[in-house]
């Protein structure tokens, strides 16, 4: 019987994985994942500028302030990562206009001014970034200060006193009020590496099991199969095949991720380019700045354990519901509650930081099917502890036990049922049978 179980599992997996659609879907996934990780390199390869670097052509009509202006501006620019570069321009304004045609570059003309010492004009084709304008303004102010200091021959001490900025510190009384940072962590780290893949794989799992069972029912091949293997063997073969499939698909996603990172390192010479604004750098910065790396070392294993157990629970529900339906269209309708629950978990996990660790969100995180989606977010936000995770796992295992116990009875009755009338009545009746 074990051979038949393995053979049924193999057939199910082959039907899913030895198809051109599986290949096409994985090629698309690989391209998307590897492409997203290397998006800055790809844009650069095609002649674009991912960081959107803007040249500022500076026409210094004073013939004396460019160097000072450049030093001050670059210092400010570095602190704010503005991606602008000053270029000393010696040709005419008209020629400069020609040069920035069809570009985002700017022209800065600095002139002497009898009243204000300096005046300047910024020219752009379409848009001038306010931050850039402010930086130029601050830099010109500094230059002007220097000119005044030189003109009146002020002593260094007076200059120092003038330049000293009053100290401004921040105090936030509510120490838990860290929503923005937490939201960043969830959106930039937990969402792409845990929640999104899990949600996607869950949908794959439910669809695969539902389609498989209904295909066998629709073609009546179920009659032949069940006359040779017990419903229990068939049930387990579907569960094993479904879970093996999502685990393989999950593994492939990890492989695409690793390939993407290897390619990134090869192309850029380093994994994290501090000057890049790509999401990989942002994710890295988030993890580094918030000390989140330590948390990941236990969040990822816990999430993986929860995911594996939740996959089993979802596959059980999918198989039981699929056994009661007569075709894939019926299954699409019956699976709606599964999708709604998954979506609920999906959105709650994204918005987890807004609940500030309330009892409500804690209780939701105990609920099987939701827990695998919510717990990674809540753990990363520090809103739940290990005890809560253990409670969730115990409840999940209990649910799986009940699903096995009663689900198998429903499955036995359901797989040879070809009528969709009194569906729920039949299910409850089957559950009561010994």
């Amino acid at each position: 019987m074990n051979n038949k179980l393995l053979y049924l599992t193999k057939i199910s997996l082959n039907k899913k994985m030895k198809t051109k659609w599986f290949l096409v879907a994985n090629i698309i996934l690989a391209v998307v994942i590897i492409g997203l990780i290397n998006i800055d390199n790809i844009i650069k390869f095609f002649g674009g500028d991912f960081d959107n670097n803007i040249n500022i052509l500076v026409i210094d009509n004073t013939n004396e302030v460019y160097d000072s202006f450049s030093n001050i501006y670059n210092e400010y620019s570095k602190q704010l990562s503005t991606n602008t570069t000053l270029v000393k321009y010696t040709k005419t304004y008209e020629e400069a206009k020609e040069e920035i045609k069809d570009k985002d570059d700017l022209i800065l003309v600095i002139n002497n001014d009898n009243i204000n010492y300096l005046n300047a004009n910024i020219t752009a084709n379409t848009y001038i970034n306010p931050t850039t304008t402010q930086l130029i303004s601050y830099s010109l102010d500094s230059i002007k200060n220097n000119l005044v200091i030189n003109k009146y021959n002020l002593s260094p001490n007076i200059v120092k006193d003038l330049n000293n900025t009053p100290t401004l510190t921040k105090t936030i009384l509510d120490t838990d009020s860290t929503n923005d940072t937490n939201m960043d962590i969830v959106m930039n780290v937990i969402f792409p590496i845990i929640i999104l893949p899990f949600f996607m794989l869950t949908m794959f799992l439910v669809q695969m099991i539902g389609a498989e069972i209904n295909e066998e029912k629709t073609t009546k091949s179920m009659e032949i199969i069940i006359s040779n293997v017990s419903p229990k063997t068939h049930f387990f073969s579907k569960l094993i095949a479904g879970n093996t499939f999502v685990l393989s698909q999950g593994l492939l996603l990890i492989i695409y991720l690793v390939l993407g990172l290897i390619l990134r390192t090869t192309l850029s010479g380093e994994l994290i380019d501090p000057n890049s604004t790509s999401f990989v750098t942002e994710m890295y910065n988030n993890i580094k700045d918030t000390g989140f790396l330590d948390k990941l070392s236990y969040i990822i294993p816990i999430s993986l354990i929860l995911m594996l157990i939740t996959f089993v629970a979802y596959s059980l529900v999918a198989a039981i519901l699929a056994s009661m339906t007569t075709n894939i269209e019926d299954f699409q309708q019956v699976q709606t509650p599964i999708i709604v629950v998954s979506l609920l978990g999906y959105y709650l996990s994204i918005m987890a930081s807004m609940f500030n660790g309330s009892i409500f969100i804690k209780v939701l995180s105990y609920i099987p099917f939701l827990s695998a989606l919510l717990i990674p977010s809540l753990l990363s936000l520090g809103q739940i502890g290990l005890v809560d995770v253990i409670i969730s796992i115990v409840l999940l295992l209990l649910t799986i036990h009940l699903l096995f116990k009663y689900g198998l009875k429903i499955y036995k009755q359901g797989i040879l049922n070809y009528s969709s009338t009194n569906l729920w009545k039949k299910m409850f009746k089957a559950m009561k049978e010994k």
């Binding site: 051979n3 066998e216 073609t219 009546k220 091949s221 009659e223 032949i224 040779n228 293997v229 040879l416």
Partner: protein
């Protein structure tokens, strides 16, 4: 021997099969007949072990049928039970392995049967690419590839042209000669008459007729007289015991209530000078079936 003894099966309050009894020996072909919903599929499912919540006993060679015995049973379902996206080879291999065969043996036997049914070129084709008749051939091969001791054939000739019907008949008779127990179900009574020594007719789950075909026909009172030549149709129709007189291009068919009325008909046509044929035949199984089932429904 397949033995079905006092088998009763309920679906809720509905009695699908009521006290069913029959036996089929090795090398016998048994006809299980009935209208749609008569209980045939339920009976097949019980024999196959798909249903176990029934009363009574079903045994094959003295042993209750369970999953240790299903490798010895072949089942050709009325509807196509093939997975359309699989190739012919994969499909036969799938069902063959479920019957406990190894893949090498399956392939050897598949090659033999594909050649026998003249469809060798379809081995690597997907089931969905085959015609209805060729799909039926594949389904038939899948039910016999493991050389079953018991073979259940539910509408085996569905979708076949006359040439392939002959081919199927040949194979079924070969299996019978080899000692296979065959249960045959069809709505085409001429097919049943061709094969079955024994039969049973179910109406609403209840047995209304069972026994050897020859005995059933002999004991059936109604007879037909076939006449070739000129007769007075209305005169014959007005005779006692004549149910109906019909005419095709060459012959008249006189349906009688009982064989005792044969001499009267003979006497009535004896004055005609151009009678070239006069013979008495048993009622066809189709007539017996319609008569029995009709009466049972009226009751």
């Amino acid at each position: 021997m397949l033995k079905v003894k006092n088998v009763t099966k309920y679906y809720g309050d509905l009695c699908a099969v009521n006290d069913l009894n029959f036996e089929v020996k090795e090398g016998e072909i048994f006809g299980l007949l009935g209208l749609n919903g008569a209980g045939k599929t339920t009976t097949f499912r019980m024999i196959m072990g798909l249903l176990d919540d029934y009363t009574g006993e079903i045994t094959l060679n003295g042993k209750k049928i369970d999953y240790t015995m299903t490798d010895k049973i072949g089942f050709l379902t009325e509807e196509r039970s093939l997975i359309l996206k699989l190739t012919v080879k994969d499909q036969i291999e799938y069902y063959g392995v479920l019957k406990g065969m190894d893949e090498l043996t399956i392939e050897k036997k598949l090659d033999y049967w594909l050649k026998r049914f003249d469809i060798e070129e379809y081995k690597s084709k997907k089931i969905k690419e085959l015609s209805k008749g060729n799909q039926q051939k594949i389904q038939f091969i899948s039910s016999i590839i493991h050389e079953p001791k018991l073979l259940i054939l539910d509408e085996p000739f569905s979708g076949l042209d006359p040439v392939n019907v002959e081919l199927f008949k040949e194979v079924i008779l070969e299996l019978k000669e080899k000692g296979t127990i065959i249960i045959f179900s069809s709505h085409r009574m001429e097919h049943v008459e061709l094969f079955c020594e024994k039969l049973l007719i179910l109406v609403k789950g209840k047995t209304v007729l069972s026994g050897y075909l020859k005995d059933i026909k002999d004991n059936y009172k109604k007879k037909n007289i076939i006449i070739e030549g000129s007769i007075d149709k209305d005169k014959i129709k007005s005779l006692d015991g004549v149910i109906n007189v019909t005419k095709n291009e060459l012959q008249y068919k006189v349906e009688l209530e009982d064989k005792k009325y044969i001499p009267k008909v003979f006497k009535a046509i004896s004055n005609s000078d151009n009678i070239t044929k006069f013979y008495v035949e048993d009622a066809t199984l189709n007539e017996i079936f319609i008569s029995i089932v009709g009466e049972s429904y009226e009751q």
